[in-house]
Amino acid sequence: MNQNTSFKRYLKMDLLPTPWCPGCGNGIVLKTICQAFDELNLPKNGTVVVSGIGCSGRSAGYFDLDSVHTAHGRAIPVAEGIKYAIDALNVIVASGDGDLLGIGGNHLLHAIRRNTNITVVCYANETYGMTGGQVSPTTPHNIKTLTTPNGNPDYPLDVQFLFKHSGCYFARSTVYHLNHLKKCIVEALKFQGFSFVEARTMCIVNYGRRLGYKNSNEMLLHYKEFYKINDDAGELAPNEIGIIKTNTLIKS
């Protein structure tokens, strides 16, 4: 097992532990982002992390970098403002699915359209965990949450389709597939243009336990069994994870 701990230089270790519940997957995403930084040896001076609101929104404060904790849903426009002002900065957004796809969804659409050269890592845990477990943009159909006691009547947003013909980068991975997740983030950071990594992560306390999972390990094992890696696809099936480098926009 690789015991390389040099990724820790990107973390404010003295602030740990994080405020996240035992069994939460967010810490795995946080660590994997740092490992991706480490692999690319991103300079600490010149790298900025931006997050929005929610459980995962708190992650920005744990990076040993300049970081911004924006208003709910506004991580992407703040990140774009930083990038367009000072192009030399590496700008990374780390936030949740409710933040990026729900309240901030419009900004995502237009960041894709502008193809702003920033990287977004979306902690997609299928719920609004911080507020107790309400339905979120990635909650599957029929799932019961606090606000959908009879099951989610709607279908989840399949983010990859927002990226069709955009010329941007899209990848999906999970916190079980650590090496794959890291590869997705590394490739995203290397990508010149807008890149988005949907990191499937688990919320046991306010979501999984209501679905019958006994602990977060069971949720992890579900990722292991359910998801198959397919890095060559032009489109991912619901049970596939992988990288899509979308075609550039067909200009009319």
């Binding site: 904790h69 703040v78 419009n106």
Partner: protein, 338 residues
């Protein structure tokens, strides 16, 4: 310095450039759009048309944190959308300039007509307590002058500063001499990417979020309040015209409406706040000389409450609604007051 015939909004754009503007993000809206039209042609200013005003102010905050002077411009509906982020910018101490060219509201209202309905929204539009510095000029030359002051006050206070205008003065053409010999304040805090600071809208102590430390929160808010008062003292702008004749009436107005008030300078003494907030305290010295104070605003009585609260006395109020500034109508109303 040659004279120039400029529209109010053009003067704002030109002054912003002189003040060192490097980044502008905005969304089209009447009657503020000419500001971005003007700025897109400036080489050293990055301009972005965003998807909405929320994105605009957030991009401006990001750019400012990245170390460049940044501004957005809008009108009432967009200003309403920006409110959450204005409070956020106060909490994170981000220096930005927000121009609000007011039009008739509420809602879509009468977009092409001027109003002064956003005065209280400037200080209470966002949730929680914050203490913004707000300027409201009344001519093209003043829009130029106070745009520069707004940038300087933003840098000094590390907070968003609001420049109020209205559809009337922003669309007015006047000849001005755009001086460039103003003192320009530069950024004192280091740009993003230089350290390991954390900027957050949570209550905080330095870079550390403190979500349940009540004493720390109280210290934070009183520091903000003191900081804003201290900065404001250096921008103590108002206009007081004592009547040549004996009079016991003081007429207060501001913005577009105050231009009409000049017509009555031989009948009443005139007072005009230019720094709207924090309220200029000099009125406390001026007011006791007059038995009666009459105030006119293009709203149903927003700033009059602020003045009344400060003076602890009653003020006769004349609302001028719907964007029509008609001298005969105002004369008539003043006669009724008399």
């Amino acid at each position: 310095m040659p004279k120039q015939l400029l529209q109010g909004n053009q003067a704002i754009a030109l002054a912003a450039e002189v003040a060192g503007l490097k980044f502008f993000a905005g969304y089209p809206i009447t009657p503020a759009s000419e500001i971005i039209h003007e700025l897109v042609n400036k080489k050293h200013i990055k301009t972005l048309q965003m998807e909405d005003e929320i994105a605009s102010i957030n991009a401006v905050m990001g750019a400012s944190l990245a170390g460049v002077k940044a501004m957005t411009a809008t009108s009432g509906p967009g200003f309403s959308l920006m409110q959450e982020s204005i409070g956020h910018a106060h909490m994170m101490e981000v220096p930005i300039v927000i121009v609000n060219v007011q039009r008739v509201g509420p809602s879509t209202g009468m977009p092409t007509l001027p109003a002064q309905g956003d005065v209280i929204q400037c200080i209470h539009g966002s949730h929680g307590d914050y203490f913004p510095i707000v300027f409201y000029p009344n001519s093209v030359a003043e829009l130029y002058q106070y745009t520069i002051a707004a940038f300087n006050a933003a840098e000094e206070s590390l907070s968003p500063v609001i420049l109020l205008s209205d559809g009337y003065i922003s669309h007015l053409y006047e000849t001005i001499t755009p001086h460039r010999d103003f003192e320009i304040k530069h950024r004192t805090s280091p740009p993003l990417g230089a350290s390991n600071r954390h900027f957050t809208g949570l209550s905080h102590e330095g870079s550390i979020p403190k979500t349940s430390d009540i004493d720390n929160y109280r210290r934070l808010i009183s520091r903000f309040q003191e900081k804003q008062q201290l900065t404001a003292q250096r921008y103590n702008y108002y206009e007081y015209l004592e009547c040549g004749k004996e009079t016991d009436i003081l007429l207060i107005s501001y913005g577009a409406l105050s231009r009409v008030a000049y017509y009555f300078k031989n009948d009443f003494s005139l007072y005009r706040p230019i720094r709207m907030f924090p309220v200029v305290e000099e009125i406390k010295i001026i007011a006791p000389k007059y038995k009666r104070i009459i105030m006119m605003e293009m709203n149903t009585g927003q700033y009059v409450r602020e003045i009344e609260r400060l003076l602890r006395r009653e003020i006769e109020f004349i609302p001028i609604l719907g964007g029509r500034i008609d001298l005969q109508e105002i004369k008539q109303k003043l006669r009724e007051e008399k």
